[in-house]
Symmetry: C2
Subunit: 335 residues, 2 copies
């Protein structure tokens, strides 16, 4: 590995001049510049990022904490982030939170300690106060997948209320009157927003909101399964369920199958997220799609702006994303 000193010797200039040529930080005589560039090429010189980081206090790394590396949700986000950050010359340092407050905090500390220039955080367990505390305010940070009022302009998230509204509205349009909802954990803002959207659609259709039709789940498959069983045990008139996410819907499918209820003939199902499995379940699930990749890209763009790498104003980046209704075959038209 050649150093800047060797280059400077070969080009018969000082290291400072080489630095100036490479970074364009000061004007350099055209001939000198050429000599330098020639030497750089001949020695295949590449600046040592560590030494550079030490002096500029910019490591070129962005820390990303996702909830679960292996989930399709996080994969989509990561992909989006990478596609923006890498061309900008920055690298991703990833870590995961595994839905545990402690892990999440540890992951954030870990990355902060590694001198990341910025942080992108998509976690579920920490509440708002914990999150704000652990982030601190000495590192530019973007929150993904939830809205935190204190840092509204650095949150990239889906309009969950609207997605739930769209889902419920669709069920109503298809002629359903008795619509249940299995929510996610209500400690999460997302889940609460989805519940709100469900309520708003009912209200708009002049249908009463009945708490007996709502159960709280955990976003996991087993919870979809057990919640639906509990719901059925209540023996309420029922024609459709709005499931808080796809994974729970897959569990629901199983529960309904065991009760010899077919989807959508006996019960209609609509869910949320549009993971791959939603397309291949039987029947394929109608669901609400989140533009994960686009959201990841936006988060990365916000980061670039915060780091002043781009001239665009921060406001111009889209931060609230629109959910999209994906119609497949799990909802029956009763009209």
């Amino acid at each position: 590995m050649a150093t800047i000193k060797e280059v400077s010797q070969q080009a018969k200039v000082s290291p400072a001049t080489v630095s100036r040529v490479l970074n364009g930080t000061a004007p350099v005589n055209a001939l000198t510049r050429q000599r330098v560039l020639k030497a750089v090429k001949e020695l295949a010189y590449q600046p040592n990022p560590l030494a550079r980081a030490l002096v500029t206090k910019r490591s070129g790394g962005v820390g990303v904490v996702v909830n679960e590396l292996s989930s399709p949700f996080c994969g989509g986000i990561l992909w989006g982030i990478e596609s923006v950050l890498e061309p900008a010359g920055m690298h991703l340092m990833v870590s995961s939170g595994h839905s545990s407050t402690q892990n999440e905090k540890a992951a954030i500390h870990f990355l902060k300690n590694r001198h990341c220039d910025a942080l992108i955080v998509q976690i579920e367990a920490c509440n708002e106060d914990e999150l704000l505390a652990v982030i601190g305010n000495n590192i530019p940070t973007v929150i993904m997948g939830r809205h935190i009022p204190e840092m509204s302009d650095r949150c990239v998230y889906l309009d969950n209320e609207k997605g739930a509204y769209l889902a419920t509205q669709f069920l109503i349009q298809q002629g359903h009157h008795h619509i249940a909802h299995i929510s996610g954990p209500l400690a999460l803002q997302d889940s609460r927003n989805r519940l709100d959207g469900y309520k708003r659609a009912l209200q708009e259709a002049k249908m009463d909101y009945n708490p007996h039709y709502v159960l709280e789940g955990t976003f996991q498959e087993v919870s979809g399964y057990s919640s639906v069983k509990r719901l059925l045990a209540r023996q309420l008139p029922l024609s459709a369920i709005f499931m808080g996410n796809d994974q729970m819907a897959l569990g629901a499918l199983k529960a309904l199958y065991e009760h010899k209820l077919s989807v959508p003939q006996d019960i209609s199902l609509i869910a949320y997220d549009d993971i791959l499995a939603a397309r291949y379940s039987y029947p394929p699930l109608s669901t609400i799609r989140q533009p994960l990749e686009a959201m990841g890209k936006s988060a990365a763009e916000v980061i670039l702006h915060l780091l002043d790498k781009e001239s665009l104003a921060l406001k111009e980046v889209q931060k609230v994303f629109e959910p999209e209704l994906v119609i497949r075959e799990s909802v029956m038209n009763l009209c």
Copy 2:
């Protein structure tokens, strides 16, 4: 951020002594040590990883190049890697190859240039020579998901031949005689090994290998769809298909559905990988499971050994993993 100098002043020692206490590189008088530790605590001192990396030539980062960040396959691997490397104090720098030779090379160069201590590479497009060339031999590297003879002791992979053998054998045991195979791209060693396993099972059952029953796909869903259509057009007697991976099997399901052939009554299907969707397709797919997380862990352990962080001998890490047959409902018993 406190520096080592401030700590040394507070503890009335030289920076060298602080370093010695913190790294245990030389004996330090017990009392001095206590003074130093006290100062470290009071100032909440944390060594600057960049400065440290500059002198030790160890950044503490491991570069990971996966084929596709958003795929469930890579997610599982990443999870495994993270679970070993993070406790060892190392961080992950990720990048993806997107099945393109150029991207893969760029990603590896990108990470090497960032002064990673080591590399874990799971890519598909580069052939062996390209891969060896781009890796070079100045950075410890582990290859995942394929076997490269030149660096046999640094490859962590599945016994693909055996998995394919298990799948095909299972079909035969269930009484199938006309078994087709839609392979992955035969440029990939994995695909060739799976084809070999298929052949071996046939041979062992004294069934003839007929090339008309084998089509080459791309591992993508659409390719499963089109390959099956082409296969059906050949009008061969057929009772089962061994699909090269789950994604192609999902495409196959669609093609068969369009031909009004039901699975498994008319055609049986078995696949490879066991992604989440395999469990929820209709019917749920029998498939071959890869222990992704365990493989990721192993890869990370090999890295740690290569970096001499652990005393275990390199040989003791498991590097060839056993596939597991997962029986669901896509295969009919004809016996």
